[in-house]
Structure formats: structure tokens, C-alpha cells
Symmetry: C2
Subunit: 123 residues, 2 copies
Amino acid sequence: MRSDDHSPAPEDAKPPPVPEDLAELASVFGLLSDPGRLRLLAALREGERCVGDLAAVAGASDSATSHHLRLLRAHRVVQARRRGRMVLYRIADAHVRLLLDVALAHVGHARAIANPGRESRSA
Amino acid sequence: MRSDDHSPAPEDAKPPPVPEDLAELASVFGLLSDPGRLRLLAALREGERCVGDLAAVAGASDSATSHHLRLLRAHRVVQARRRGRMVLYRIADAHVRLLLDVALAHVGHARAIANPGRESRSA
DNA sequence: TGCACATATGATCATGCGTTCAGATGACCA
DNA sequence: TGGTCATCTGAACGCATGATCATATGTGCA
């Protein structure tokens, strides 16, 4: 026992995460670890988009975009719906949306500390 | 223009994320995409821990753990503090903590849908 | 001061992941 | 029904990332 018992009274009494969930969670985070996919999701925050649009926004090829969307869909990060000959994607649920918001807020906050006096929306 | 203009009225009027932030965010998510590092963070949710403890909890070597913590610290996901000859790590801020909570809730929710009637805390 | 413990670091190697290309599937329209 | 558009799929290549080993730093204690 190195640090005797330093747990200074559980600050929120979080339930110990199921290992099974941790693995799945790691996969989901892995999906979010690509700037391209992040751009896709950022675009999807504004509403449903077809693959071609998303590809254009993310600056990637249709093929790459389709690959990415497939992965995101497999992990329930996005949902797909056919409309004619095109497929419209959207963010799967409120959790994902909130996750992105919190994450963006974090990096914004972190950068605000790193570069004081320089706003996120700097013109 | 493929999907004419389907944005069905911005559901929340999210500010368009700064590309710079997206890159940083992708890096942070990348750090969270490893089950081992996730175990470290899960352990840190319960309070400060030294490297040795964290290594034991995560089932990794001290060296690997140190490497991981270095990365996490570089991206302000965790903070470090010396106490004698050991270094105590903790989660950097409330954002990260919230991020983990939301993410865990997401995978829990997703699995609850996938396996109905099977609780997260299944014995 | 010298030893032992806790942590940090640097280099190397294997593996996974993203991208791309080529081709397949499926839906609309004339 | 043939043609075209939008998307999907499979395979191969190149790069980045994680793990490991050996070693360095730094702190407390006798």
C-alpha cells in the first residue's frame, strides 16, 4: 500500500464503472479521437445531413466519410435514415450531444487558461 | 448542394467550434480511448492517488502508468502534486469529471437498450 | 553520504487506424 | 429498362500510437 488511504471522502459517491462499460467507452472515445469524425459530429449538431454534405464539411472523401459514419453508427453515436437515394445522418441521442458540448467547453476552458486574454471566438 | 437545406431550425444554436479546438479535443478523446487510461481516470474519480496505486488498479506497469499520466497531464486532464517522494494525481477539473459521467451514462444507456432487463450493476 | 524507494524518461518495436482506390449495391428518372 | 447519382464495401499502404526495457532523476532515511 503506497498511498495509505488518501481517498478524502468520496466527493460524489460515483458508482464504480463496469469494466465492460469501460471497454465500450474507450471505443466510443476512440471514435471521437479523429478530427475528421469530430468535424462530422460538429456538423451533425446543427441537424441531419447527408453523406455528401458531411464529406464536404469535413473535407474528406465520400468514401472515407462513409467509413467513418459506419463506425459511428455501429457504436450508436449517430443514427441513419433513408430519404430517397441519400442517407441522412444525425446524432444518436442527447448523451452524445451533451458529451460534445462538455468536451468543447473543456478545451475552450483549458485554452482560455493557457492563453489568457484570448477568447474562443477571437475575430 | 445535395441535401438542400435540411437544418431544421438550430435546436440549440450551438456556436460553431473552432477548428483549433477540434484538434485539441480529438487529442483529449484520444487519451480517453485507452481502457487502461480510462481505468486510471475512473480510479482518480474517487480521489487523489499515487502512481504506484494507479498502476496497480489499472493493471499496468509503473512505467506505462507514468507515461499515461504524463500525457493526461500534458492535456490538462489530470493534475499532479508532490507529497514526499511520491506524486499524487487527481482529475484536473469538473469538466473532465462531468465528461466521464456523461460518457459512462451514455454507454450504460446504450447497453441497457442493447440488453434489456440487464442492469449495469449486474452481479 | 550512501542506499532504497517512487517516479520519470528515452528509445525501440509491433500493432492498429485512417486514407485511398476500385468496384458493388441500391434508388431515382427518362 | 438503361443510365446516373448517392452511398457502401473490401483490400492495401503508410503513419501514428501504445507497450516494453533500460536507465535517469529525485526524495527520504539511516
